[in-house]
Every structure is written in C-alpha cells, then in structure tokens.
C-alpha cells in the first residue's frame, strides 16, 4: 500500500483538471466530483495509515523522478511516509474530505461553484505535497501552493473589496515568512549539502548550536508567517472573509498547521539549537495569550474562532518550543477535529441566517436562542466548545494538558503560567460564543427569523462525524497522558534532545523526558486537577456573565473601558503596522517621486518671495546676485532630485540599466576583491 | 594539393549544376507553355525556331535587355536584395541534392534538414520584395505569401518525418538506399499526399498561387519588378520546383534507383521521375482553379495538420510493433 503513495496527490490533480478546464460544463456537479476525488485520496491515506499503524511502521521513501540535478545539487520528487507524515496525512485527508462534503451544501447556488472546488482540490494537492515531500524543496512547493490557494480562496468573493484586500494581505504577509523559509533552506543546503530530510538530519548532530539556531530561527520565520504567530498573525483574522469551509479547512485544520509540521519535521535541527527553541516557546506562549485575550470581546462569530485558532496555534508552538514535539503534533490533530467542527458549525449558523442583513449575519449580538431551531448544530457545536475548553474526557483536554504539563516540567514556568491563563480565556470566550449564539432571547432580525432552519444533511453529517472525533480523538491516542499510543507511534520521526549535549545549558533531562513522555507523581495529578478547574472556571464565568447576570459584561465594560477598547481594537496592531511600516514606505516612495516638484518649486518660490520683499525694502540689492544664488541652489537640488527620480521612473529600461550596473558592480567586486 | 584539387572539382560540379539547372528551367517554362496550350487546345509558342524551340532563349534575351525600373518610393537596398534573397537559397539547396549514386556536390548527415532550413529562407525574399516595393498589392501579396509559406512549411516538415522514421537517417543517400526494396510511397501514402500538397503551396504553384494571383493582386509581390530582377523570381520558382520534386523522389520514390531488370544509369532514372513530377505540376496548373485564402488556411490547419500528426503517430506505433 505504501508504494501507492503517489496516488494520493494524483486524485486532486484529476479533480482540478476536470473542474478547472470544464467548469462551465460541469456546473454544480463540480462539488460531488471534487468530493469523490478527496474521498479517493482519503481511502489511499487510510490504507497507508492502517499499514503504518498495524504493520510496517518505520519510514519509507517513494521515489518518483529526479527533479533537479545541477552540479552537486540534486532534488528529487519523492515522498516520505513515516509516522509524522501519516498523522498529518490523516488529518489533511480526513478533514479535507469532510469539508468537501460540507461545502457541497454550503456553496450551493454560488456562481463560482466549479471555481471553488477547483481551488479546494488544488489546495488538497499542495497540502499533500507539503506533507509528503521527502525534502525541503518539495515541501516548499507545497508551502507556496497552499499559500496561493489560500490567497485565491480568501479572495474567492473577489467582487467584495474587503475580501480581495484580505486575500492580498494574506499573500503578502505570507511572502514575508516565505523569505525566511527560503533563507533557512539555503542555509541548510550550505551547511549539509543536501535538502533531503534523511541526509540533512544525518548531518544535523554535527551542527554548531549557533548554526542550528540560525537555521531554526529562519525556518521559524516561515512558520510564523504561515501559522499566524506574532508578529505575522494579522492576516488570519482578515482571512475570515473567505467562505466558511475554507476557514475550516485552510485556516483552522490544515494550512496554518503547516508551520507546526515543519518545525516538528525539522526537530533534529531544533534540538541542536536551544536558543531557537526558547524563541519558539516564548513566541508561542505570547501568541496564545495575546490572541485569546482579543478573542474575549470580539462580536463576529468567525473572528472569535479565528483568534481562537491563532491562540491554539500558539499552544502548539509552545509545545514544540519546550521540546514536546509529539504533544504539539497531538494538539495539531485534536485541534483539527474540534476547530474544524467549530468553524463548520459557525458556517451552519451563518448559512441559516443568510436572510438577515449582510452586517448582522456573523454578528453574535444579533443572534441568540438558536438552540431549538438548530439542534444538530447546537449539540455538535457544544461538543466542540467543551473539547477546546479542555474538559475531560474530550479531545482538547488530553493534548492541551500535555502541553502545559511539559512546559511546567521543563522549567518554563512563565510559559506555563501564560498557557494556563490562555486556557482559562479559551474556555471563557468559547462559552461566551455559545451562550450569545444559541442561548437567551432571539435577537435575530424579524424578517430573517422564519427562514432559520437546520442545515441540509451534507452539512450536518460532517458536523456529527467531527463531533464524534472530538469526543474520542483525544482519549484513544492520548491515554494515558504523555505515554499514550501517539507518543510511541511518533517517536521514530521526532528527535530527542541529546543527553548531555554541549549545546544545552539546563533542563536537558527534563526536555528529554518531555520528548520521551511519561511523568508521574503527585505533581501530575495536581496539574490535571488544575487544568480541569481552569476549564470549568472559564465556563462558569461565561455562564455567569452571559446567562445568569446579563448586565455583568456592561458593568465590567463601564468600569474599565480602556481595556475593552484595546481588546476590541485587537491591540490596534493593524493600525500600528499601517503607521509604522506601510505608511513610511509609501511616504518614502511618494517623497522621492514628488521631491522634484515640492522641494525645488518650494525653494524657488520661497526664495524669490524673500527676494522680492527684501528688494522692495532695501532696493539696493543686486537682483542678479540673489537670483544667481537662488538658481544655483535650485539647480543643485534639481540635479539630485533628478537622480533620485530615476529610481522610480516607471520605465523598464531604467530598471534594466540598474540591473546591468548591478552586474558591473558584482564583477568589479570579483575583480578587485 | 589534394585540397586544391577537391575545391577545383567542387567548383566544376557547381558550375555544371548551376548552368544545367538554368538551362533546364528555361526549357521547363517552354514545356509548361506548350503543355498548357495543348490542354487548352492551342498551339503555344511556334514562331522562334522549330515549334518555338528557341523561344526560351529569346525570352531570356528580352528580359536581359529590358529597362530595370526601381520605383521612386521604394527602399532601394531591400528592393535590389529581395530577388537575390529568393534566388540564392533556391540554388544553395542544390549542394546536397543527390542526382545519382555518384553525382552530387556534397553529402552531409543532416541533408534533408538542411534542405528544409535553407528553403525556409525563400520567404524572406518575397516579404522583402513586397515591403520594399512600397505598393499595396505587393505588400498584400507578400503578407499572404508569408502566412501561406510559414503554415505549409510546418506540414511539409511534419510530412517528411514519417519517411525519416522509416529510413532512420537524414542523409539523402541513405534514405534512397533504405528504399531499395520498396518505395516509401507505399508505406507512407498519407505523408506523400500531404507532402505533395504542401510542396505545391511552398512553391506558390497553382492551385495555391495566391501570393501572385493576377486577378486579385495584379501580380502580387513582384508587381513592381521588371527585367532581370523579375527573371530572378521566375528562375527561383522553377528551381524550387525541382528541389521539392527531387526531395519527393528521394523520400517516396526511391531516388535515382530503378528496378533491377531495366539496366539504366541512375541519372536517367532520376530525370525520368523528375519529368513525371514536373508534368504533374504543370498539369495541375492547367486544370485546377485557385483556392480562396481562408480555404487555404482552413485546409492546412484543420485537415492536413491533424492528418500529418496522425501519420507520425501511426508510423511510430507500427514501427514499434513490427520493427
């Protein structure tokens, strides 16, 4: 079965070809076609996974063809099947298939129906490449591919200005991260002379701590962009402009976890560079706390989920940063289940409200009391919320608790505190969402009220399946904590921190224990009890504020409006970026271009005015002298502004000339080195 | 010393070939006039010499003595270079044509490709002539011609691939040897049909003589030409006819080789086959009406192109199966 791995990406390609080339003729049949293709891929994945889990194990390379061969550099198109990629494949193919089925119902009647499914399949293809590739180059192809599909799907309703802007924002922010990934890749090649995982990791133990940290940090920049961590998380909340299935698939379950996967995949290098690990842990914890706090006050149902996603991704990086790679991947998997479920549930709500005015469809202040109208959605949503809040025995508890426990036992107490607070916030805002949306009195627009209905079966069945997974997806692979099946399964793919490695300063044995799994003693029990208390406490507080005493939030707001607005305005990060980065760049460019007109004209006019006034006053000034000085200054300035102007002339030939000069300079540097 | 001898021999060969070709061209024109005349129940040239046999020489003298006009607004350099540009490729190609097993100027291993490459240059002269004349009719004729020749060059090139695959060489001598048992025309009927049609279009012969359609474009790209320059175009057209006929003979009809039971020298066989080809050319001109421009393009791209692709595919498939 494993040698059939090449089939996995082939099916989406067929789907893309059919829907992409014959979209006009296919029409609404595009959905079923794409779903069948995703389903076939899932079947192959399941076959491979069964074989990996119960039979072969180990890692297998499926070589397809040699892609690039130039000098000492060679890259091949080959796939790597090992426990890590198996887990990722299961998540991607499973959630992907369910989202396809869900979208068949959700996108019904949209004019861009075939286009949507073409891109969805294209996304599956890219994601499979990302996960399957046995070297960084193939991963990068997939990495760019998912970025492209994300851009296309966020801007799917491109006639909406905000949607196309959000698409561009996602693309550009991602590109910043990609630059880091690329540089990391180059550095890996320089250090080890290969890009294939096995060969790179063979060379990893010889790396110095500084080199490994540099590689790790550069790759992490890529992960920060793709997985929406501080400071590059800004695109993800805006990405909610895309259709909801896209949010569920790309911006919750799969693409944004690519960064986590990449870091886990590169674990042999990371364990050599403890500095990079610390940075990851801190960035992850900060993101987790930061995004969760924003989520507390948002009113848009999808934005709450978006910030929740950012926060949960922070948890995953926290796990990676403290060396608990398996826990991170475990959380990735459970998160894919319950966050996919929550997004699809919110999509179901939005779908039910699509007769309401545009700006009210996603606003929780205009919802409420939907519990009885949409029972399936409500119950599945509730399961998802409990799972993410971390109440045992649902999925979220097992993975999140492991992360926090690992942070604690490896001595990252700050990280642990931040994580615990974030977990509390998570429980709170999720149940705030539940209570505002499904409980209380109905605040829906009267006109839309009679149109509220339960969603069709293609939408509810995926919800139910994901709900079941959210219930059992944590306990089965994750019990007993930190020594569960998933740890044993993943162990061969993930590196352990070398015992007594000279690179490590402290806590080596603790991190080792974290990677290996298995803590015991009263501290563990205490931590588990604390986690449960935190989760239940968050839920209780939400219940108190939004069901019991609905005036409480208002009182709270009145007592500290500053914090409220700070949170509602998302800490004004977008605005800060706008003023600190975007505006200055614009200004610089505009300045250069208008330098000529503004400065020269201003100088000339101002000087001449002074001249006129002064000559009128005294009448003895020699006009020529003054004019000469003025003109001299003016022409001096004009000369420089002319030079600067050519930097941005808009003429291809100028730009090309600069390229020629570049060659000239490089050759000179070579000659006179 | 050897080298000098080689060069001398080559020079003599070139001299012979060029002169013979010119003479033969002159008489082909005579034959063409006669055949068409008889096809139309006329007599044709009868005055100069016995049955007008000296007519070509008289024509040549006339063209030689005529005034050489260059239009006022014409681009002089290009105008003068254009006929040369047509004639030179037409004659350069003779360097690799095998007239018999022993009589050829040279042979190179990419002979056929060389012929295709060089003969593709003829279109330059036509385009140059059309543009340099600075006249509407000329330009239209030239544009038509460029489009037609570029398109049909593709079919010509592709139709050649079938026989090439069978022969496994681009050397013309070896292609001939490969046919010592069976002529390729029997293996490659589709390729031959396409080749023949494309060849007619490439040489601007009826029914594909659109670039010089007298009734529509006065005389097409050479409207403004007179005297020897006009003669150059004429010469080139007939020289090209010989070239494509020879290529056809080499590729499909076994070149200079004939059946073993008739002991004739190779050159004679070659001349016989060439005569048949030339006669068919003239015959078609006398009987077929001219195509319309859009029909020409449609036939080319929608009929001949798929056909020739099919032929390549079939040849490859069958060769893979049986050889």
């Amino acid at each position: 079965m494993i040698e059939l791995a090449w089939l996995i990406p082939v099916f989406p390609v067929i789907g893309v070809l059919i829907n992409g080339l014959f979209g006009r003729h296919v029409g609404e049949r595009a959905g079923p076609i794409a779903s069948v293709m995703a389903g076939l891929s899932l079947l192959v994945v399941l076959g491979i996974a069964l074989e990996m889990i119960f039979g072969a194990g180990g890692s297998h390379t499926v070589h397809l063809w040699t892609w690039v061969e130039a000098g000492s550099f060679s890259a091949s198109m080959s796939f790597l099947i090992d426990p890590l990629s198996t887990i990722m494949l299961l998540v991607v193919a499973g959630v992907g298939f369910l989202v396809h089925v869900y979208a068949v119902g959700y996108m019904h009647g949209d004019p861009g129906y075939p286009r949507f499914f073409t891109w969805l399949n294209l996304f599956m293809l890219s994601m499979f490449l990302l996960v399957l590739g046995d070297n960084y180059l193939v991963m990068f192809v997939g990495w760019e591919g998912v970025g492209l599909c994300s851009y296309l799907l966020i801007g799917f309703w491109y006639e909406k200005q905000s949607a196309s802007d959000a698409g561009k924002k996602a693309f550009i922010v991602n590109r910043i991260g990609d630059a880091g990934f690329l540089l990391g890749m180059f550095l890996i090649w320089t250090l080890t002379g290969s890009l294939t995982y096995t060969e790179v990791f063979k060379g990893a133990p010889e790396m110095s701590a500084a080199a490994a940290s540099a590689v790790g940090l550069l790759l992490f920049v890529g992960a920060v962009g793709k997985s929406a961590q501080i400071p590059l998380y800004v695109w993800l909340p805006d990405a909610m402009e895309g259709p909801t299935p896209v949010s569920a698939l790309i911006h919750a379950a799969t693409m944004v976890t690519a960064g986590v996967y990449m870091v886990a995949r590169t674990s042999p290098i990371y364990v050599m560079g403890p500095d990079a690990m610390s940075v990851i842990a801190i960035v992850g914890a900060l993101t987790g706390l930061f995004a969760a706090s924003i989520g507390l006050v948002q009113n848009d149902i999808k934005r709450v989920l978006a910030y929740s996603t950012v926060s949960q991704l922070g948890f995953m990086f926290m796990a990676l940063g403290v060396g608990a790679f398996a826990a991170g991947i475990f959380h990735l998997m459970t998160h894919a289940f319950f966050k996919g479920l929550l997004f699809l549930g919110s999509g179901s709500v939005i779908h039910a409200l699509h007769h309401a005015p545009e700006e009210q469809q996603q606003d929780m202040r205009y919802m409420g009391g939907l519990k009885d109208k949409m029972p399936v959605t409500y119950w599945t949503f509730l399961i998802g919320a409990i799972a993410i809040a971390g109440v045992p025995p649902l999925a979220g508890f097992w993975s999140k608790d492991e992360i926090l426990a690992n942070a604690f036992f490896t001595g990252h107490y700050t990280v642990w505190i931040m994580g615990t607070v974030a977990a509390f916030m998570t429980a709170f805002y999720m149940f705030r969402l539940i209570f505002m949306t499904f409980h209380g009195e109905m605040r829906v627009d009267h006109h839309a009220r009679e149109h509220i209905h339960e969603s069709p079966a293609t939408m509810t069945v995926p919800l139910i399946i994901l709900a079941v997974l959210s219930v059992i997806g944590g306990v089965i692979p994750g019990f007993p904590p930190e020594a569960g099946w998933i740890h044993r399964f993943l162990a061969p793919s993930l590196a352990k921190v070398p015992a007594g490695g000279q690179a490590m300063d402290q806590g080596v044995h603790l991190m080792n224990a974290a990677a290996g799994g298995g803590h015991s003693g009263p501290a563990v029990v205490l931590l588990i009890i604390l986690a449960i208390v935190v989760a239940v406490g968050g839920i209780a507080l939400a219940w108190y504020m939004y069901v019991k005493d609905t005036e409480a939030p208002r009182r709270l707001y009145r007592s500290m409006p500053g914090i409220y607005y700070l949170l509602l305005g998302k800490y004004y990060i977008d605005e800060i970026y706008q003023t600190c980065i975007v505006e200055p760049v614009y200004k610089l460019m505009r300045g250069l271009w208008t330098f000529d007109a503004k400065v020269v004209d201003g100088a000339v006019n101002g000087s001449s005015l002074i001249t006129v006034v002064s000559s009128r006053f005294s009448g003895i000034f020699d006009l020529r002298t003054v004019d000469g000085a003025v003109n001299g200054t003016a022409s001096f300035i004009r000369f420089f502004s002319q030079v600067f102007k050519y930097l941005q002339s808009g003429m291809v030939q100028n730009y090309l000339f600069v390229m020629l000069l570049g060659i000239f300079v490089m050759l000179s540097a070579y000659l006179f080195r | 010393m050897d080298m000098a001898l080689e060069i001398a021999v080559a020079a003599i060969k070139i001299f012979i070939v060029l002169n013979v070709v010119q003479l033969v061209v002159a008489y082909t024109i005579y034959v063409e006039r006669k055949v068409i005349a008889h096809a139309q129940m006329r007599l044709g040239p009868m005055r100069v010499g016995w049955h007008g046999l000296l007519q070509p020489i008289a024509d040549g003298l006339k063209l030689f003595l005529k005034e050489d006009i260059i239009p006022d607004k014409a681009d002089r350099i290009v105008f003068v270079l254009a006929p040369v540009m047509v004639l030179v490729p037409a004659f350069v190609v003779y360097a690799v044509l095998p007239f018999s097993a022993t009589f050829y100027i040279t042979q190179i291993n990419i002979g056929l490709f060389f012929i295709l490459a060089i003969s593709s240059l003829g279109v330059f002269g036509i385009v140059m002539a059309g543009w340099a004349s600075n006249s509407k009719y000329s330009l239209l004729g030239a544009l038509r011609s460029a489009a037609q020749m570029l398109s049909y060059e593709i079919f010509l090139g592709f139709s050649v691939i079938g026989p090439l695959m069978l022969a496994g060489s681009m050397n013309l001598q070896e292609i001939v040897h490969a046919q010592s048992d069976v002529w390729f025309v029997f293996y490659q009927p589709i390729a031959f049909i396409v080749f023949f049609i494309a060849a007619m279009a490439e040489t601007n012969r009826a029914p594909f003589d659109l670039p010089e359609a007298e009734t529509e474009l006065v005389a097409g790209f050479h409207t403004e030409y007179s005297g020897m320059k006009f003669a150059f175009f004429f010469l080139a057209e007939y020289a090209n006819m010989f070239v494509v006929s020879t290529v056809g003979i080499v590729l499909f009809f076994g070149g200079w080789e004939g059946p073993d039971f008739i002991p004739l020298p190779g050159f004679v066989w070659y001349v016989l086959k060439l005569s048949v080809f030339m006669f068919v050319f003239i015959w078609l001109r006398a009987t077929l009406p001219r195509y319309r421009y859009d029909q020409l393009m449609r036939v080319g791209w929608k009929f001949m192109f798929p056909l020739v692709m099919l032929n390549i595919f079939l040849t490859g498939f069958l060769k893979y199966l049986f050889l």
Binding site: W65, L660, I663, F664 | S120, W131, L139, A146, S169
Partner: protein, 169 residues
C-alpha cells in the same frame, strides 16, 4: 583554417549586430539580425553542432524573424523613423557597457580552461550529432522537453488573446 572561419563569422556577427542596433528603420534592423543569425549558424557548425545550426536557420531565421517582419509590416514604420531614436540614458549605458565588456575580458583573461574533450564520433560522419542530441533530449531531458511544449502552448494562447481585437464571450 577553423580559426580563420571563426574570426570571419564572429567579425561578421559583431558588425551586423552593431549595425542592427543603430538602424532607424526597423525592417533593416530585422534583416541585419537575420544576417547575424547566419553567421551564428556558421559558428555552430564550427563548434560541431550542425543540427543546432540548421535549427537556427529553420526556426530563427525562417520562423521567428519572418514573424517579426510580418508584424512590423502591420505597424506604421515610417512614423518611427522620423522620431528620436536614442534613449536619454544612452551615453551612460554605452560607457557602462564598454566598461563591463573590459571587465569580462579581464576576468576571462585569467581563466585557464582544461583541455577540450573529444566527441566520441568524428565530426560530419554518419551517426552524427543528431542521434546523440535526440538520445539526450528524449531521455535525460524528457521532462523539460514536455514543459517546453507547454510553454509554447501557453505563449500561443497568450499571443492570440493579446492580439485579438475583441474576444467573443
């Protein structure tokens, strides 16, 4: 002997290409470029790439350049002849290019190439380089070859879409 031919061809190429970039009349420039390509084909033959030489003439001279001439005739050439021909940055570019040329020469002067290897066959003999080229092109470079065909298809579609007056929907 070979060297004399090389100097002749390369001299021809340099002269014609210099003439090419200085012509005001586009048609003349295009025809001069055709001439350059002839010399280039000659150099290819000297380098033992007969097939490439033929491709150069067949595709470049006979195909691409005719396409150029064809398109130029559809445009208004006379107007362009009367306009200013040189870009404002011309002089700077010229100086920079000459300096760059000197630098390249200085770099190449210092390079010692290892002795040339020999082909496995003698030039001009019959298995020849066509077969070798085909063998490499259709085995080792099959994938790039197919990609090139897709590139051509894309260019064809692009050119049609761009040059069409109106696209029927």
């Amino acid at each position: 002997m070979e060297l004399y031919f090389f100097y002749m061809f390369s001299g021809g190429m340099i002269i014609t290409s210099l003439l090419m970039i200085t012509r005001a009349n586009v048609i003349h420039a295009a025809l001069l470029l055709v001439l350059t390509f002839f010399f280039l084909a000659g150099i290819f033959v000297l380098a033992g790439a007969e097939f490439l030489a033929a491709v150069q003439i067949l595709l470049y001279a006979g195909g691409i350049m005719v396409l150029y001439l064809f398109s130029i005739m559809l445009m208004n050439v006379e107007v362009a002849v009367r306009m200013r021909q040189w870009h404002r940055q011309g002089v700077v570019v010229f100086v920079a290019a000459v300096l760059l040329g000197l630098e390249i020469w200085a770099v190449l002067k210092g390079v010692e190439f290892p002795a040339a290897k020999q082909w496995e066959w003698s030039l001009g003999a019959t298995p020849g380089n066509v077969e070798a080229l085909g063998a490499v092109l259709y085995t080792k470079f099959l994938f790039p070859f197919e990609v090139a065909s897709i590139l051509l298809l894309a260019a064809m579609i692009g050119a049609i879409v761009l040059a069409k007056r109106t696209i029927e929907r």
